[in-house]
């Protein structure tokens, strides 16, 4: 690595020399770089655009392979059919309900624990941190999880099997811990002098000062549950309890009878693009809030990277 000090008298000359020499190569590189990144954006967006185009295209056009960026044979038959399916709305409502419930549980558990393990004077702190982090690297596996949660605890076919197991994300925990660790100690001293006990300090001093972090973590958990499907797949037998991701999964796996949904509409039409429509309706809320919340996510990840 270059660390030698720079002689000011020749620095400018050599600098400008290299700049001149590099210009052509730099230009080519920059041109390539911008083109490449633009191409990457196009590639990233294409599946979404295709999804929307498929959702509003006619069955014939899709089967003829003529749908790319723009709907061909515009119609809204399928979108009306899916939205007219009571099961879709039941599952959609379940998703909303599970997301809210899960996020509340997860935030309470994670925030309290993160605050505790951020208190450096606390005896047993390292044991608690160790117990949490070990689970990042080792687990009993899928089948014991299935047996223990579903049968020992008897949570099968209850929403608790869906909203409880994931309610403590160790990654989120460590991010919150490092955030709380950076609180100035004087703050708590002042609070205790003012007569606040630990609960009081936590609720009335620490949490109000952590609003940005709490918002970020809430989003992290909410998106996780909005997108989750596997817990429901594993533990919920009743379709009336499924989240919308399971509705979609059943469509993809072909175990959902499109005829049922289609009985009010043109069956062939619905068959061709029902997956596209359901995907679109599933991701719509995320796409809608995404531009507004994206920076929170990024800051959350950065926070975790600052230092544990």
């Amino acid at each position: 690595m270059v660390t030698e000090s720079v002689r000011p008298d020749i620095a400018g000359v050599r600098n400008s020399l290299t700049t001149v020499k590099d210009t052509r190569g730099t230009k080519v590189f920059r041109w390539f770089n911008y083109s490449f990144l633009t191409l990457l954006v196009v590639v990233t967006l294409y599946p979404f655009v295709n999804l929307i185009a498929m959702s509003f295209s006619s069955d014939g056009a899709i089967r003829a392979g003529r749908v790319n960026l723009w709907p061909v044979g515009f119609n809204t038959t399928t979108i009306r059919a899916v939205m007219g399916d009571p099961m879709f709305w039941i599952n959609y409502r379940n998703t909303v309900f599970y997301t809210v419930l899960f996020t509340i549980i997860a935030m309470v558990i994670t925030t309290c624990f993160a605050y505790v393990i951020s208190r450096q004077h606390l005896p047993g702190r390292k044991l608690m941190i160790g117990m949490a982090t070990f689970t990042m690297f080792f687990g009993g596996g899928l089948v014991p999880h299935f047996v223990v949660v579903g049968q020992w605890y008897g949570l099968r076919n209850t929403i608790w099997a869906v909203v409880l197991p994931g309610a403590l994300s160790v990654f989120n925990l460590l991010v919150m811990k490092s955030f709380f660790e950076n609180f100035p100690g004087e703050l708590e001293e002042a609070a205790s002098i003012d007569g606040l006990n630990t609960f009081g300090t936590f609720l009335r001093i620490v949490l109000p000062l952590s609003k940005a972090l709490l918002a970020t973590m809430t989003l992290f958990y909410a998106v996780t549950m909005w997108n989750a499907w596997f817990g429901s797949f594993l533990f919920l037998g009743d379709r009336n309890m499924h989240p919308v991701t399971m509705y979609l999964r059943n469509l993809i796996a072909g175990s959902l009878n499109t005829q049922e949904i289609a009985d009010t509409a043109d069956a062939a039409q619905v068959g061709a693009n029902i997956q596209a429509v359901t995907m679109l309706l599933t991701v719509l809320p995320i796409m809608f809030v995404y531009p507004f919340v994206q920076k929170f996510f990024v800051s959350g990840v950065m926070l975790g990277s600052v230092k544990g």
Binding site: T3, Y46, G141, V175, L248, M279
Partner: protein, 338 residues
Amino acid sequence: MPGTGVQGGATDRDGLGRRTRGGGETTDSPFTAPTVNRKRSFKKALRRDWQLYVLALPAMVHLVLFAYVPMFGAIIAFRRFRPGGSLIGDEWVGFHFFELAFSQPQFWQAFWNTVILGGLWFVIGFPLPIILALLLNEVRARKFKRFVQTITYLPHFLSIVVVAGLVLQLTTRDGTVNQMLGWFGVDPIIFMQHAEFFRPIWIISEAWQTVGWGTILYLAALTTVDEQLYEAARIDGANRWRQTWHVTLPGIRPTIVVLMVLNIGTFMAVGFEKVLLLQNPLIYSTADVLSTYLFRIGIGASNFSLATAIGLFQSLIGLVLIVSANFVSRKLVGSSLW
């Protein structure tokens, strides 16, 4: 880095030893220094900090119930489990189920598929965010940079089910990929019925979904590289490429190493959910990985003990990999997870 919080974690014995030791020894930690007699101080701490312990209780209960009890439940890998019988199995059978697993050709097919898929993803997928971060770092137009970032982060927020749906949609007979092939006069291919296409499709879709999000930590690390080093390198006649090689990459090495160690640890668990959603029996020869195989025989066919043995084998490999990767990186490059 997400992992640096692990420092002083599982391997640190201070927190464990504190209660059992009689005390008297001094530590150089400013937080424990005032407490000389540790046994008495723990009682005192309990009285003083009981509210903190109460706050920790829900999480500790959660950890025990949903992480440590299932670990204990893995005991059925060593006991014969009968449906309707005892939930921890009826009798000890030693390594019977491991031997049974290792004697199945399907197990070895799934094992090698896992290794190949994990290995391919590690070789191809790990450097991609680094390359993209380096390219983004060269962009001077801030708005364009932010635009590219916003768009490339987006797929990270999609459900695996949606991603699987998109993949299936794009690779069907009348999907975009076949349309493009049609321009070159290639006949439509039903990709998901041909085993040889599964790996590329999986790798591409995984890259599509994760590459943008993966750049965040590298971009953060890049901002901490000292500007003066670039200047010095330029004066020494280093061109852009050499600056990248000798200044930028060493500058973000700790981040690279920590993320690499984490990646190695999850090597055996390659994208279970997406593989499960994408695979079908026609392409098991490349698309069946250990997780999906054990899912099928465990949850599908209720062969709990056999599937648990396979899962335990997989977890142990993961643990060994991450511990050794961490050890090697600490010895060789001096930065590590813990």
